[in-house]
């Protein structure tokens, strides 16, 4: 399936899995009553691509099913349409994805870039182009509805349309539960705003309004499932499969990388794994969230989105490789502020999905879109000229470090060398994975290597983004104004 900027032939055989899953959901939602959507029954075998996203996805599938019924009922006939694949059907599925993108995601990106301050129109257009060219979103593409809604949420909240922003974000969560990765920054930012306005006056009013909006939107989406306790519980069970373990398959996650050395999955008991992952996740995102609550600012909000999503990605349980897109989206938003590091991060995030993309035979589109993205970013933002400490937003940090270590002056050069090493490693690994066969005893060697290298990168970026957030002080901003 594709995105308008990619091409039909490019995403050749859409992965049988997700494509069939989407078609199956249309079949289920159209033919069965709502009460049965999330339950296992003879008509609805949950083992076969059972519905495991929140209700909005189901409603969306229902809508598509109505359109499909109008065009060709065979596509969604109960039981008999399993594995259905035809040119017309592929075109239909692609079109639904395309329309979703056109209506929600792309306008959000364009509007976001228009609202960027202090840059020329040309740079805004270049910014929008670079975001839209991000390879991850082009190649992995089963609809960016949730990312689009989340982006509208960010836009609303940053421009002080708090209610609309939170409504959009609630819709995003109700579309895909992974958006919960972004929920803490939203919560902290809005709470911080309420505190700032004074909890006895306007702030309290705002708090109440926000609470009502959130509750109302949730109730609206979950209405058919709120009637019985069993319904709600079953849906929650499908959304959060706690019995599935710390991780599945290979993902550029701490737990997966750690298990190279120590098989945690087998050593620790199940509930302990969940507790550990929760602890690590919350510990790593606590500083940034606390700072955001105490000093809410638009810039802090965006960076906190990045660091929170990254913390969740690294330490949470049952993380899928595709979840890196939830981190990439906020990074795209800060592209204009720290172009060099953002471009680097986005390249690494694309690289981390290499095993997944190779499985889908998307090597050529991957190479082409990555090169195109890199060139677009390099020319639009002149990233290689912006590697000074100030450009990397590390000025205040290095000043603090220099109080204790006066010789700490070579930060930017270190980062430049790291970048070179990183790119060379990624290119080499890609070449090796594509050309050579893994040794017999270690069939997963290359994908594990890719995950491990990506994980190291992500840890580095986690530290980097947290440094920016914690050392971003008002005095730093005043200094820039004076300069």
């Amino acid at each position: 399936m594709l995105n308008p900027l990619s091409h039909p032939g490019a995403g050749k055989p859409p992965m049988f899995g997700d494509y069939e899953a989407q078609r199956h959901w249309q079949e289920i939602t159209f033919n069965l009553p709502i009460k049965q959507w999330y339950f296992n029954s003879s008509d609805n075998n949950l083992q076969y691509w059972g519905l495991d996203y929140p209700p909005l996805t189901a409603y969306h599938s229902l809508l598509c099913a109505y359109v499909a019924k109008f065009i060709n009922p065979d596509w969604i006939a109960l039981h008999t349409s399993r594995g259905y694949e035809s040119q017309a059907h592929k075109l239909f599925m692609r079109t639904t994805v395309l329309i979703a993108d056109l209506l929600i995601y792309i306008p959000a990106v364009v509007l976001y870039c228009c609202c960027l301050k202090e840059i020329s129109t040309k740079k805004k257009v270049a910014n929008a182009l670079c975001i839209l060219l991000y390879p991850g979103l082009i190649l992995i593409d089963y609809g960016h509805f949730h990312l689009g809604f989340a982006l509208w949420g960010v836009l609303g909240v940053s421009c002080d349309w708090d209610l609309l922003g939170s409504l959009a974000f609630c819709l995003a969560i109700n579309y895909k539960q992974m958006e919960l990765y972004h929920s803490l920054p939203f919560f902290c930012f809005l709470l911080g705003k309420c505190f700032k306005k004074g909890l006895k006056g306007k702030g309290f009013v705002l708090l109440i309004k926000l609470a009502c909006t959130v509750v109302a939107s949730f109730i609206l989406c979950w209405l058919p499932f709120c009637t019985e306790r069993e319904q709600t519980l079953q849906v929650l069970r499908r959304l959060f499969p706690v019995d599935r373990g710390l991780f599945e398959d290979k993902v550029a996650n701490i737990w997966c990388s750690f298990s190279i050395f120590l098989k945690i999955k087998e050593i620790l008991p199940h509930h302990f794994q969940i507790i550990i992952s929760f602890c690590f996740t919350f510990l790593s995102l606590l500083p940034a969230c606390v700072k955001l609550t105490l000093q809410p600012s638009s810039k802090g909000f965006r960076f906190t989105l990045v660091s929170c999503a990254l913390s969740f990605f690294l330490f949470s349980f049952q993380v899928h490789e595709k979840s890196i897109l939830l981190v990439s989206l906020p990074v795209c938003l800060v592209l204009s502020e720290i172009p060099f590091m953002s471009t680097w991060f986005l390249l690494v995030s694309t690289f981390s999905m290499l095993p997944l993309l190779l499985k889908d035979e998307l090597l050529m589109p991957l190479v082409v879109t990555t090169i195109a993205f890199f060139i677009a970013c390099a020319t639009s933002f002149s990233i290689f000229e912006k590697t000074s400490e100030e450009e990397l937003q590390l000025k205040s940090f290095s000043l603090s470090v220099r109080k204790y270590l006066p010789c700490f002056t070579f930060l930017s050069r270190i980062i430049q060398y790291l970048f070179l090493i990183s790119v060379i490693t990624m290119v080499l690994l890609t070449l090796i994975t594509v050309t050579l066969d893994p040794p017999q005893k270690l069939p997963d060697l290359f994908s594990v290597l890719v995950c491990f290298v990506s994980c190291l990168h992500f840890l580095f970026f986690l530290v980097y983004f947290n440094i920016i957030i914690m050392w971003d002080s008002k005095s730093g901003r005043n200094q820039k104004k004076i300069n």
Binding site: K90, P365, V368, I375, T379
Partner: protein
């Protein structure tokens, strides 16, 4: 780091454009390809496996070699690279062989040979005077021209989806035009002669070249009022031009002349048995003619003015490629189409002879020749519209009047190419690319000519001929026939 930054960021927008479109072409590799793919694979096989004497006689496949010898040698050169990709594609008996390596090789060969097209565009940009334009890079005529040529929608879908080798051929043509602009006439003539022997469709524009070179190069000076000065005729120049053309032709056709195969070669090159119109009607005058004939015959049958028994069974709209008779209107012979074409190009050729206006006048005449041949020619393909669209881009960044004509021509021309890609997966691609290209061309040309110093009255003298032809070409979009037995891509000579 900074050096790399300068190299990437800096001023080399042309390389960025070229690289960008090359990446786009790579993305188009797995898309639908027409029977032209098999045609070129077959030619690779023929030129590789058979001796030269057999090239124009080989007929195992229905797609016989029907391009001039230089193209055959080009395929021969390619076949030597092909053997490292997949030896099997070079077997003449392997009809419709299209392994993934074959596909990769063929697509990459088109992308690679487009390098000549990129070079030609670079040379054409040098001929553009961009002093009057705005300061922004994207408003400069050179930038707009580069985008209009490098990212041309028609060329992209014909070459990189439908599959043909037009890129480097148009590169040769644009390069020869650029050389004529740069007053390097001999090189221009040489390049055009070579081009003719690559693909003889460029005979359409040969009159423009002939008349221009004769009038503006062989007559070295003009009288003060612009008319011809007979005593400035330079024999040296005529003879050197003639020598160039002769040598190129000798190189190309010489071997076949020695083998006494010239009549066979010519019959392959000019297959008049293929009928007035291609399987897909090109939107030209004969399409309207056929439509009128059909309408009249239906009316005639309804009003019982015609005898059903006398109407020939095979009709134009059955999608087959063959010769046949019209029912009501007089039938059209190749000679008739030639006369119509000649009449159509006469005004522009006369202008070029009696009132030469330098290279620009030549370019206008070239475009008019291309358009006239497209409208009135025998067995014209839709793709031939590119012959007029691409040179027109050069004129479009010069004058506002030319720009508006270019926009109409290019939009309708590109739209007429849509039926070439009839598969469902290509539908979003072609619509999206067409929209992007059309939007860009309209907005950029509009911006370019809204700069106050550029506002000029439409040039009546030169634009007149072009404007005359446009009303005829516009209704062409209506004259399309489609049945379920159409043969996409190349034509065949099926019996009635």
């Amino acid at each position: 780091m900074a050096a790399l930054g300068i190299a990437m960021g800096g001023g080399n927008w042309f390389s960025a454009l070229a690289l960008g479109v090359t990446l786009l072409k790579c993305l188009l590799i797995p898309t639908y390809h027409s029977t032209d793919f098999e045609v070129h694979r077959n030619w690779l096989a023929i030129t590789h496996s058979l001796p030269v004497s057999q090239w124009y006689y080989e007929a195992t496949s229905e797609w016989t070699l029907d391009y001039p010898p230089f193209f055959a040698w080009f395929e021969y050169a390619l076949s030597h690279v092909a053997k490292y990709f997949d030896q099997e594609m070079l077997n003449v008996r392997n009809l419709n062989y299209s392994s993934s390596r074959t596909l990769l090789f063929q697509r990459f060969s088109v992308i690679f040979t487009d390098a000549l097209f990129v070079y030609a565009v670079h040379e054409c940009c040098k001929c553009i005077d961009g002093k009057k334009a705005g300061k922004e890079l994207t408003e400069k005529p050179k930038f707009i021209l580069s985008v209009l040529l490098l990212w041309n929608f028609g060329l992209l879908i014909v070459d990189h989806i439908h599959f043909q080798y037009n890129g480097f051929l148009f590169g040769l043509m644009l390069l020869s035009i650029a050389r004529l602009f740069q007053k390097r006439h001999m090189e221009g003539a040489f390049l055009f002669a070579v081009l003719l022997h690559f693909k003889h469709i460029y005979l359409y524009v040969a009159p423009a070249y002939g008349v221009y070179l004769l009038r503006s190069y062989c007559f070295t000076a003009n009288k003060p009022d612009g008319s011809i000065r007979w005593n400035s005729f330079s024999f040296v120049r005529v003879i050197s031009l003639g020598l160039i053309v002769f040598l190129v032709s000798a190189l190309s056709l010489g071997p076949f002349l020695a083998l006494n195969q010239l009549p066979q070669v010519l019959s392959r090159l000019f297959p008049f048995k293929r009928g007035l119109c291609h399987a897909y009607w090109a939107p030209n005058f004969w399409a309207l003619y056929n439509a009128l004939d059909k309408v009249l015959s239906i009316i005639g049958l309804e009003l019982k003015l015609l005898d059903p028994n006398k109407i020939p069974k095979a009709s134009m709209t059955s999608g087959l490629v063959q010769q046949f008779q019209h029912t009501v209107l007089p039938s059209v012979t190749p000679l008739a189409t030639l006369i119509c074409t000649l009449i159509a190009i006469l005004p522009s050729v006369f202008c070029l002879w009696f009132k030469p206006q330098g290279p620009r006048g030549f370019l206008r005449c070239l475009i008019l020749c291309a358009l006239s041949s497209f409208l009135f020619g025998w067995h014209v393909h839709e793709k031939a519209i590119l012959l007029a669209v691409l040179p027109m881009s050069l004129l479009s960044v010069g004058k506002a009047g030319d720009a508006s004509i270019f926009l109409i021509l290019t939009t309708t021309g590109h739209y007429s190419l849509f039926p070439l890609l009839f598969t469902a997966p290509e539908l979003p691609t072609k619509i999206l690319l067409m929209l992007l290209f059309t939007t860009y061309s309209i907005s950029s040309l509009k911006t370019l000519f809204s700069v106050p110093s550029f506002k000029k009255i439409k040039e009546k003298k030169d634009g007149r001929d072009l404007v005359l032809l446009l009303p005829v070409s516009l209704p062409k979009q209506g004259g399309r026939a489609r049945t379920s037995r159409e043969l996409p891509g190349r034509c065949t000579a099926f019996p009635a």
